[in-house]
């Protein structure tokens, strides 16, 4: 389970939180002017990013506040937590190295990766 650093309550077990889906999808204010396709884009379409992903969480049992989190969905590494309305901070993350999004280490995909013989630990 993740430990999520709630901006209000501090680090807590994931079981206290409810996942809130992709962040920064603003609800259109003039939906009546939108085509069905544009509206469908808002309601259904998601980037579903593999890699650094901005998402929302709700601290359901605690402060009951939504907040944003930057997580690498290829590795589950949490990089930043920030408040609703704020822009995602720039983070220095080990982003997916290949188009398929395989992280060089830490991904669950074919989890056991073997270091090249000439590689040294920490490299």
């Amino acid at each position: 389970m993740f430990v999520i650093d709630c901006p209000n309550c501090g680090p807590r077990d994931q079981s206290e939180f409810v996942y809130g889906g992709e962040a920064h999808i603003a609800r259109p204010t003039k939906s009546e002017d939108m085509t069905d396709a544009e509206w469908g884009e808002f309601v259904f379409m998601r980037t579903n990013t593999k890699g650094l992903f901005a998402e929302r969480w709700w601290h359901a049992t605690g402060c009951r506040k939504f907040f944003n989190m930057l997580r690498n969905t290829a590795t589950d590494e949490i990089h930043a937590v920030y408040r609703i309305g704020e822009k995602p901070p720039k983070v220095d993350a080990d982003l997916p190295a290949t188009p398929a999004g395989e992280a060089s280490i830490g991904s669950g995909n074919d989890a056991v990766k073997i270091m090249r013989a000439d590689a040294e630990a920490g490299s």
Binding site: M1, N8, C9, G10, R12, D13, S15, E16, T61, G62, C63, R64, K65
Partner: protein, 207 residues
């Protein structure tokens, strides 16, 4: 009509203890409980005036003679007071905060309070809680809204290990989770000799 009788969610449970004062578990029902939504700068003066409590820092609580104020979120606080004072508190707070962008809600009956005291309180809680309850991780007056197994509640530590009979933890738990949580706590404390209470069950479910 008979005279009004208040009945707590755990009226059917007796306080439970483990031998040698290792642990005591009891219900303290009917505390006055008022939720206050608003920012501390607005709520602060009113609470100081009405209940004599200071605004707590995040994840902490403050106390006065008769009251405890729990931080629940940056704009949500829970005021605890003695039994049967909720209506008076409500009136006083409403008067003190008249016209402000606040919400004042009586939730005295929403929760009841489980009091868990004794040297084995932490270990017992850790059968259900994912919080770091080590004295270094959780201290007196600290507050957390969290899960206890499948129950939800607010945990506050009210006395430390040095206190007589301490440490003491209080859990505010909603009515419908109270019996479950009481039984889970006695179950978790079995190893210390606590008599185990089984959750009420046996409702007829079949036609």
């Amino acid at each position: 009509m008979t005279a009004p009788v208040r009945r707590s969610p755990l009226a059917h449970r007796k306080p439970a203890s483990a031998p040698d004062d290792l642990l005591h578990l009891s219900e303290r029902a009917f505390d006055a409980k008022i939720v206050l939504r608003g920012t501390p700068d607005i709520l602060g003066p009113a609470l100081a005036e009405v209940a004599g409590v200071e605004m707590p820092e995040p994840t902490r609580s403050t106390t006065s003679d008769r009251h405890r104020l729990l931080w629940q979120s940056p704009d949500e606080f829970l005021l605890l007071g003695p039994k049967d004072t909720e209506l008076a508190l409500l009136d006083a707070l409403q008067a003190a905060l008249d016209g402000a962008h606040v919400q004042i809600v009586n939730v005295s009956d929403y929760h009841t309070t489980l009091v868990l005291a004794g040297p084995k309180a932490r270990e017992t809680l850790m059968t259900l809680s994912t919080l770091d309850l080590h004295p270094r991780g959780f201290t007196v007056d600290q507050v957390a809204g969290t899960t206890f197994g499948h129950a939800l509640g607010w945990l506050v530590q009210t006395a430390d290990d040095e206190a007589e009979g301490g440490p003491v933890f209080e859990i505010l738990v909603r009515w419908s989770h109270a019996d479950y949580l009481f039984c889970e706590l006695t179950h978790g404390a079995r190893a210390f000799g606590m008599p185990e209470s089984k959750p009420l069950s046996g409702e007829l479910m079949e036609i």
